[in-house]
Amino acid sequence: MAVVHPAPRSALLEEALGPGGPIIVFDHVQLAFDDKIILRDVSFTLKTGHTKIFLGASGAGKSTILRLILGLLKPDGGQIFVNGERVDDMSEDNLMAVRGDLGMVFQEGALFDSLSVRENVGYKLDEELNWVRSDADARVQEVLGFVGLGEFIDRRPSELSGGQRRRVAIARAMAAKPRILLYDEPTTGLDPITAVTVDEEIIKLRDLEGVSSILVTHQLRDAFFVAEHTAVRQGQDIEFPKASPEKCQEAEFIMLRDGLIAFEGNAGELRNAAQTDAYIEAFLS
């Protein structure tokens, strides 16, 4: 009988699918809506515990990348892997299992406005995972405490401020303890002070809970804050000192432009690139 040799995989995929490999891989992903090309050729990997920060102008396809990871959209070409599973050609039923390990914070929060904060945050535990009521309540209290909104448990989303809604959305995304969190413009439209409270939640989840994250934003201040700070427990309090240079390596920026990756590297490299690349300079200034 003839031996069937599988098609050779790219070095990127070999690494990704090997032991301890990255948990999200994009391999030459392409996507267009009608005539408009959104992603021309995008490849990157997200490693466990690391952060990828996507920058780019509006309409550059940043949010699209998050929807592709969740399987809410299908690419026209290329492959996408999440936790070693190929999701770009997966059926909706099988995707539900992959989504179990993903938490998504939508732009504006996308909270269910017919449900209370308690029901929003506990949604997945109650409806999909069928947790016992007391366990779900305890977990909801815990995550709402984590984002500092414990006393808002009985409110409706319409009674919350913009910043509180984003933090409830973060609480909802983390309630079922996913290992990967995706943030879509979590600080857009917030004042700088409130934005920092949201940034701190992202840092806490990454550094205290070991969550890998992808952050899509065009708020540079927040992007650099998340990349260059770390969370440390000091007794009861949590502090956010500057991260060590090694720690800063774990946060990588990707700048999208015309459907391609125009820049990939850490915060320092991004600042350096701005001195030679007019587009990046315009973006950072």
């Binding site: 539900m96 939508f106 504006e108 996308a110 406005d113 949604y123 997945k124 999909e128």
Partner: protein, 257 residues
């Protein structure tokens, strides 16, 4: 000109394809797990109990005006005592189902399209999927089941109230004896008419709710889009009520008469 027509046809075909796709997923959602019982109960309440007042009022006044109109017409033939026959036959076979359908289309079809439409444009539907919930099972299945069960129930209530409304006018305005009216009502009804009055609303309820869900889930374009979707849902489901009523009536005449 020709290009525009082709584009329009393409869009219409795509719409039909999406609608049929949603219906097949809904059918699968009804017979397989997970099944969201709580949402089903909620929708039975929202669609059934919530529509009761409007359906009661519509039924009552339709029965009353029908008695009034037919009373004056029948007078010309000296047949005022036949009012009950006319009222019961037209209400049970036709007006009960259709008017209930139209009222539910206005109240429930628009509500569903507006609710699902705003969930669509605020990413709540995407959030449901991201949290591992199939929006068809969570949102569409409960509404379709509620439409299938509650529209027939509402129709029976509307028809019953309509006949009572006819009785009020016949006795107090037309001065016909109560027993004459009731005898005439019973004489005017055949068992086939009752079947027709019971079978038609299943189809109407299904059409109204499934159109509302389909239009809602296809909403794009922000709050303006939600407004458009609501209007489209009411127009489409109202026309569907009248059209489906015609075809099902035709079918039932062949099958049971």
């Amino acid at each position: 000109m020709g290009g525009g027509l082709v584009e329009w046809l393409k869009a219409a075909l795509l719409e039909v394809q999406e609608y049929v796709g949603m219906l097949s997923l809904t059918a699968r959602g009804i017979v397989s797990r997970p099944f969201y019982y709580r949402d089903v109960v909620q929708q039975f309440d929202a669609i059934g109990v919530g529509s009761l007042t409007v359906v009661l009022l519509t039924g009552l006044f339709t029965g009353m005006v029908l008695a009034l109109q037919s009373g004056t017409t029948l007078d010309a033939f000296g047949a005022r005592s036949m009012v009950g026959r006319l009222v019961s036959a037209s209400i049970v076979k036709e007006l009960g189902p259709v008017l209930t359908g139209l009222m539910v289309a206005g109240r429930v079809g628009s509500g569903i399209a507006a609710e699902l439409g705003s969930m669509m444009v605020t990413d709540q539907i995407a959030a449901l999927r991201a949290l591992g919930t199939d929006p068809i099972r969570k949102l569409v299945v409960p509404r379709v089941l509620a439409g299938l069960v509650m529209v027939p129930v509402l129709t029976v209530i509307a028809s019953a109230v309509g006949i009572v409304g006819g009785w009020i006018v016949t006795v107090f305005v037309l001065r016909v004896a109560s027993s004459v009216y009731w005898n005439s009502v019973v004489e005017g009804l055949y068992i086939q008419d009752v079947w027709m009055g019971l079978i038609k609303p299943f189809f109407l309820g299904f059409a109204i709710v499934s159109i509302g869900c389909h239009v809602g889930l296809r909403t794009t374009g922000g709050t303006q889009g939600v407004g458009r979707a609501t209007t489209n849902a009411v127009v489409a489901s109202s026309v569907a009520v009248i059209a489906v009523d015609y075809f099902v009536t035709q079918l039932l005449i062949v099958l049971i008469y």
